[in-house]
Symmetry: D2
Subunit: 295 residues, 4 copies
């Protein structure tokens, strides 16, 4: 997606402005038309706030039409018929394009039950979720009343549009839509950062396969050169970080038992705040370790 500056958006003709923002909210050009009249925007946060105000002050039937303009999650027929490019990318980010038949079936049942109860599709900002957490969210939200779900759907449209704006528009300020997951290995045996420790990050799944989503090796400062997840929301879900510490110590000729008391150390934790920084360090000796949610 090519980017456009906020200055250019502020200066554009109404038609160009509406065209540029066409896909920020699915099939709903009336929002961009309202925003055009509110220009200039001092920043991207102001632009997004105006967008939310436009939706929240719309008549109920207009809001409902907006919600209904969204596709079902992980729906095969709709995918075959074609989603917007944005929807496709987003659904793929959570692995919704790689579901097993059983998982498709689970999503289909959930979609059907939701539509039956509320009369509109279940909307969620999938970039903030793993497959596991989407299914949990489905279950929770199915218990709500319609009024609550209308509000929730608009909230999620707000999150989806914020992420799309963040990708589309360059401005001096940034929307707070990204999180960061980092780690650090401290070798308490020698009182120094541990370089060269192989690390895997696994997304744990209740249904279907857990999968490795990042691999890294610690650098001279015991950290990874890049965050394990960065530049995007942290998907809500359960994870496991695995550190190959026996290999690290063996390479440094530290005497270990056979088999080594600690070999691959798993740190299992969950992410619940997609826009936060999670620092999950490992303090380690051949005989002990600790971890904590750091900053």
């Amino acid at each position: 997606m090519s980017q456009i500056s906020l200055a250019d958006l502020n200066a554009a003709s109404k038609a160009d402005f509406v065209a540029a923002l066409a896909n920020v909210v699915e099939y709903s050009p009336w929002i961009a038309e309202q925003l055009a009249a509110k220009r200039p925007f001092a920043g991207i946060n102001e632009l997004h706030a105006a967008l939310m105000a436009a939706i929240q002050s719309a008549e109920p039937d207009v809001q409902l039409a907006l919600i209904r303009a969204h596709p079902d999650l992980a729906d095969k027929t709709q995918r075959a018929a074609g989603l917007t490019a944005e929807s496709t990318d987003e659904q793929n980010s959570a692995g919704l394009d790689r579901l097993s038949e059983a998982e498709y079936a689970a999503f289909e049942r959930a979609n059907g039950a939701y539509r039956d109860k509320f009369g509109f599709p279940y909307i969620v900002c999938v970039r903030r979720h793993t497959r596991d957490s989407v299914l949990r969210d489905f279950e929770t939200r199915l218990l709500n009343i319609a009024k609550t779900e209308t509000r929730r759907a608009i909230e999620e449209i707000g999150r989806i549009s914020a992420l799309r704006l963040d990708q589309l528009v360059m401005a001096d300020d940034r929307l707070k839509v990204h999180g960061r997951l980092s780690t650090h290995v401290l070798d308490n045996h020698i009182g120094k950062p541990a370089p060269g420790v192989p690390i895997e990050l696994v997304e744990l799944a209740s249904l279907g396969e857990s999968r490795i989503i990042a691999r890294a090796v610690t650098n001279a400062d015991g950290r990874t050169d890049q965050p394990l997840i960065g530049g995007r929301p942290l998907p809500i879900g359960r994870y496991e970080l695995r550190f190959r510490v026996a290999q690290y110590y063996a390479e440094r000729n530290v005497p270990l038992s056979d088999p080594p008391f600690l070999d691959e150390i798993p740190l299992r934790f969950a992410i619940s705040e997609p826009e936060s920084h999670y620092h999950v360090p490992l303090l380690v000796t051949p005989w002990s370790y600790s971890t904590y949610r750091g900053s």
Copy 2:
């Protein structure tokens, strides 16, 4: 197996003494006959030391016959034909009666290769091992020369006989043949032991299925009423202790994130010293934990 006191053994007729010790070493009554003449024994450690001395001072061909009197590990034909009750129990303790076809095949290959190279069966004190560590031990020992393996075989016969003596003979002293695995959950959030934490102990397997080998719930002192493994050697191998801490904190109304940052905490470690005490505690808050090899 019914027990007999060392005093009774010391006082028994030679025939009764030899009969009582018949199965301490497989099909080798000559050892008990020699021991009968060395009576009285001041303790069970002295008895076992005499047994080892008898074997170690035997002529090479007698030692070889002793080694050859042992069955192959996990051999289906021999099991069908009948092992001594002691051998059967011991092999079952390591799960050798629950092998998959693939695992049987692996053991058969290893047995064959070992017999081909050394001309006698591979002997190991299986109560000190998991399936994983037996296969690793096989691989390592296949690389030895025959002389080393004769010595190793006698060592293992010594360990097997020590465990059988420990079960058979009551004395004032004890052989050092048992280990102990214990844990302790300390709740650093309130500065007290954590009661009511569900714990599972899993034996990890490279080949075949990992399996839960103990379940417990912590008592008022944050410990388990019984050691997780006790009263027997700790099988060499890799393990995982799992503590359900989110459940523990939720029951105490401690505010947690959703999903909780820490839910089921896995501590993965290996045992390499079957006759030692391994204490693997968990110090925990909803946001941090640590462990170490304790005592």
Copy 3:
């Protein structure tokens, strides 16, 4: 003080019973007289409960007389004139016989203010206190109303009498009047308990000198042969445990920086529950350490 069995107390003549318990409550034989009629007691807890019931059901003027039968704390004139042996021992236990002139003056002021306000002496079970915590307790209780202080005085008389009974009477059950302070040094550098670590326990004082109240060296299990404090209440107050870890590591030829990053490690903590078990361990490497309130 020579001990007497509960059985003998139950069987004694009334006169002997009263004589035996004469000093359990200061100058108040009427209590023992009442208790004599309630015999036999099934245990020492039942005996002490009866004693408390006798005091609590006495008329207000009798209670007041009982309270007034107690000496002032740390009062020089009364000490010169002679306290009961029990009072003298108890006051000395908290170091009240080693006060500086300034401290005597502080106690005298506090005693005077308390007597002026309430018309009776300040009573506290000094075996449960350090000098620091007695002075803090004085300050807090001076703010109470008279009714509260009458109740508090009786509570403290109850604690004093429980400790005196515990020393005097042998029974099958025990009063819960003792605490225990213990430690444990775990060397995470080698995954074993740390033997031979010199330890000091210091009672910290705001007013006057801090003083070393126990010294020990860790044994093969990383513990001390005796608890640091045991067989008596843990005096409420602030403490520091000091562990000479650089010496320990140097003796084991572990490479250290010069000067060593960690040399003498101080763990500073407070005791607030005199009848509890405080376990304050040290988990240590040459580059890290941790502690926690354990059990």
Copy 4:
């Protein structure tokens, strides 16, 4: 001291160059004269390396004169007579201007003994030391032979001149002459950085008074806005960081015992590498804490 750029030094007349560097090495303009001919220097590290080469290749009697041009440490008579401004600042940095009479006496004895043995003054880069570590260094170096001490004196002159060059000359590169001491308070009770924790850094002294050398309060990220020591070498010595954690928890209404189990936590450690980064964090709950040498 006003600064000068390396470019200007490279372009200056020889006389101006020598004048500019006059005080980099005490009373020894011949060094600057030699350096003038080696211009241009690509960076400040190259300049300092050339300076060291000039000294190291000088004749022994010239080196000796250079060493003798330095003042005694903490010498009252010389201070009264006037040191270079640089020497005065440096000696004051280690608190050598605030010595008690007893400490002056100790330094005088050490100076005298050193001069008697070697025939030249003891030289040390005092900015890298505390009073304690200077006295320890004195004792160690007094045991050396003269040849070793000549080498050590030149090393120290190298460190002194590096620090003076660092202050005097602006260049694109930097000499590695500074260290950094930082901390971080992580509240494991809530899984977040701890803001608002009052911290003191104390330099511990064996002889004379320990003194508070920095105070700070943690910011929203649990860190201090400025490093506790930064922009200069970390003086070799023993330190204590003190964290007022009971105050922190009380302000957040976390239930604490009375007195609180942990109130002011002291972390005692030593610095041995003045040009390194020492990170000494505190991971804390009301009932536990840990620290480690971090990065």
